[in-house]
């Protein structure tokens, strides 16, 4: 496989900035070049390059034994990924929209997540795809799926917010021997503000490690995905308008949760706000809250609060969706309230 990579996958090599989407494509591409056990399955990922074109050019380059256009059968091809993983391959499976992971819920939670425990060996599988709202996709093209799987021991869940992390986490996920759900936010895919020049050399961002996005001493804001960027906006406002220093933690990996990073920051600030785009009840904020209770209750100077989407399906109309989603003003309001507590 000594052919040159397609031009659009060589931006980093040329020192050009890449979008989050391009970072993911590069990550996938490089791992496939380096390790011929890695292969792709999904709907329309071959000829078409995937609904969002993440795998554009891959079929030509790697051929149809490593880039497999599947029938519409999310359960079927995810289960097939499990079989391939048993045989030492390392499948990366695309959900056209992550909303359509639900037919694979059974095989993911019952078969794949339990494989190691049942003595059937490791499951080096990545299930990746676009998630999230803000795109007017309606109830079935906008979901965040982390909480469908957060309760399943054996799975890992990754949700990057930057191009750098997206590439490094993708590589780490592919190299991981455990099954990883990899969420890619559609609004971040091509966001111009997220374009960055990535290191030319191979790097990974280890799973399970959160990132301090900005430091601050008054309030710890825990978030991930697209909400990282709204949180930064809110933090700037809070700093400028209220003189409140917000420390932002980007979880990056949701499962396993980087409890230590949250606890440490919270011990400095005494206040915690959790911001997630996903709906409210049963969201990840709860788990963070109880872990903080378990580990650092004495340091809490204010209630742990959360800003989240509303407990409803994702509505289609922009006006409804904007109301449904957490907005910068919400974060500012909550931050202000906590800082003054």
């Amino acid at each position: 496989m000594n052919r040159p990579a397609p031009e659009h996958l060589k931006k980093t090599a040329r020192g050009e900035p890449v979008t989050l989407l391009e970072a993911i494509s590069e990550g996938l591409f490089e791992e496939m070049v380096q390790d011929d056990r890695v292969f792709l399955m999904g709907e329309d990922i071959g000829v078409y390059g995937g609904a969002f074109k993440v795998t554009r050019g891959f079929l030509d380059y790697f051929g149809d034994l490593r880039v497999i256009d599947t029938p519409i059968a999310e359960g079927g091809f995810t289960g097939a990924a499990a079989g391939a993983a048993h045989m030492g391959l390392r499948p990366v499976v695309e959900m056209q929209f992550m909303d359509f992971i639900s037919p694979a819920y059974d095989v993911l939670t019952n078969y794949i997540a339990t494989s190691l425990y049942r003595g059937a060996g490791p499951m080096p599988i990545v299930v990746r795809g676009p998630v999230g709202g803000g795109n007017r996709g309606g109830p079935f093209h906008s979901q965040n799926v982390e909480m469908a799987f957060f309760h399943t021991p054996g799975l890992k869940i990754v949700y990057p917010s930057t191009a750098y992390d997206a590439k490094g986490l993708m590589k780490a996920a592919i190299r991981d021997d455990n099954p990883v759900i990899f969420e890619e936010h559609k609004v971040l895919y091509r966001a111009p503000a997220l374009r960055e020049v990535l290191p030319e050399e191979d790097y990974v961002v280890p799973l399970g490690e959160a990132r301090i996005v900005r430091e601050g001493s008054d309030l710890t804001l825990v978030t991930y995905g697209a909400m990282v960027h709204k949180s930064v906006e809110a933090a700037v406002q809070l700093e400028e308008q209220d003189g409140v220093g917000v420390e932002i933690i980007d979880l990056r990996t949701l499962l396993p949760l980087d409890e230590d990073a949250i606890v440490e920051s919270m011990k400095r600030t005494g206040r915690v706000l959790i911001v997630h785009e996903d709906t409210r009840t049963g969201g990840i904020a709860g788990e963070i809250a109880i872990r903080l209770n378990e580990r650092a209750f004495e340091w809490l100077d204010a209630p742990i609060l959360r800003v989240t989407a509303i407990d409803s399906p994702v509505p289609y109309a922009g006006s409804l969706e904007d109301y449904f989603l957490p907005q910068v003003e919400d974060i500012v309001t909550a931050g202000r309230y906590l800082a003054a507590y």
Partner: protein
């Protein structure tokens, strides 16, 4: 929407499929209104009015229209039931779905049947027998199995019809729904829209069968395959299927054999399409084919058809205009309609007051 003004011409005396002139012109009207509505949608999309994607049934109109026409469509909740796809808008209109609602849905208007909460043909009107689908493919076969199970349980002579694309046949929901329906002998007709494409890939990547009737045998159900560009053939095939289903013979399949002439969403580039194949199918345009037959057999004359077309286009223009002029929903409506009884709270941060629940009763 019926072509009332058209009853002037004398009726031909060799009826097509037993249909009279009025019925044939309703068919024609339904075909052209479908095409006009989708063309109008494309215009609205280009103008930036449409919220998401738009879909087209170009070349497939006869399948939806012919099938729906074969059923017992009522508006009092006692008729047959329809679960369309985005490519069966023609059936939706025949079942009484309003043009203006079609546009409202695509433009997420507050006035639309889902108030902007859902899109496109994803709407429901049980009085008219319309059950709009959800996106996950296959589900509607399960749901329609249950709807038609209720017909069976209550001993009502009603049938249901559910449309699904050929590629949707590879989902587990399709299989579970169809098999459940077959075993329970539900009076359900499955229309397989065999348009030879999935999204970007050929349907041959989804199945090894050439005809979906090969699948029907595996469910023990009746089936036939029909030229989906021939509205009369479709009407006759679905009439037969409905008759069997209504007579207690259980679930039926009708395969519509035709071709998806535009891409998955209207404005996608058509990369993987063979131009010759496309040209062949353009030559088999269902509207032109029907038009020719109607004219040749003397059921109508060109000016009359012209008038129907003009009227369909005008109806679409007006409906679109109305929908455009209407408001999008008010944001806070987002919290409504999640439970029948439990109220979903508005986010406390929107009031710009501190969280009432956290502070209203601070410990003293």
């Amino acid at each position: 929407m019926g072509p009332a003004a058209l009853s002037l011409l004398p009726m031909s005396d060799s009826p097509i499929a037993g249909l009279d002139r009025t019925q044939l012109l309703v068919l024609y009207h339904s075909l052209v209104v479908t095409r006009a509505a989708e063309e109008r949608l494309e215009v609205l999309h280009k103008q930036g009015h449409v919220t998401g994607e738009v879909y087209s049934s170009l070349g497939q109109e006869a399948g939806a229209v012919g099938a729906a026409f074969a059923l017992d469509r009522r508006t009092d909740g006692t008729g047959d039931f329809l679960a369309p796809t985005v490519r069966a808008a023609g059936a939706l209109f025949l079942f009484g779905g309003e043009l203006v609602d079609f546009f409202r849905q695509y433009m997420a208007r507050a006035t639309g049947p889902t108030g902007g909460k859902e899109a496109s043909v994803h709407w429901v009107d049980f009085q008219k027998g319309i059950v709009g689908p959800v996106s996950p493919l296959g589900t509607m076969l399960e749901v329609m199995a249950g709807i038609t199970l209720s017909f069976k349980v209550r001993g009502e002579p009603r049938v249901g019809i559910v449309f699904y694309g050929d590629a949707a046949s590879s989902t587990g929901a399709w299989h579970e729904g169809l098999n459940f329906s077959a075993v329970q002998r539900c009076p359900l007709i499955l229309m397989v829209e065999a348009n030879q494409w999935m999204f970007s890939t050929a349907t041959t990547m989804n199945t090894r069968v050439q005809s979906f009737t090969d699948k029907a045998a595996g469910y023990g159900i009746g089936s036939e395959s029909v030229d989906g560009t021939d509205i009369v053939a479709v009407y006759e095939a679905v009439s037969r299927a409905a008759k069997r289903a209504r007579a207690g013979e259980g679930t039926q399949m009708v395969e519509l054999s035709y071709y998806r002439r535009l891409d998955y969403v209207q404005h996608d580039p058509q990369e993987s399409v063979d131009p010759d194949e496309l040209a062949m199918w353009e030559g088999r345009d269902p509207i032109s084919l029907f038009e020719r037959r109607v004219l040749e057999e003397g059921w109508a004359e060109e000016p009359e058809l012209e008038e129907i077309r003009g009227r369909a286009e005008e109806d679409c223009r007006l409906a679109a205009e109305q929908a455009v002029s209407e408001p999008v929903p008010y944001g806070p409506e987002a919290v409504k309609g999640i439970y029948t009884d439990t109220v979903t709270p508005h986010p406390w941060t929107r009031t710009d007051e501190p969280d009432k629940r956290a502070t209203s009763e601070l410990k003293t």
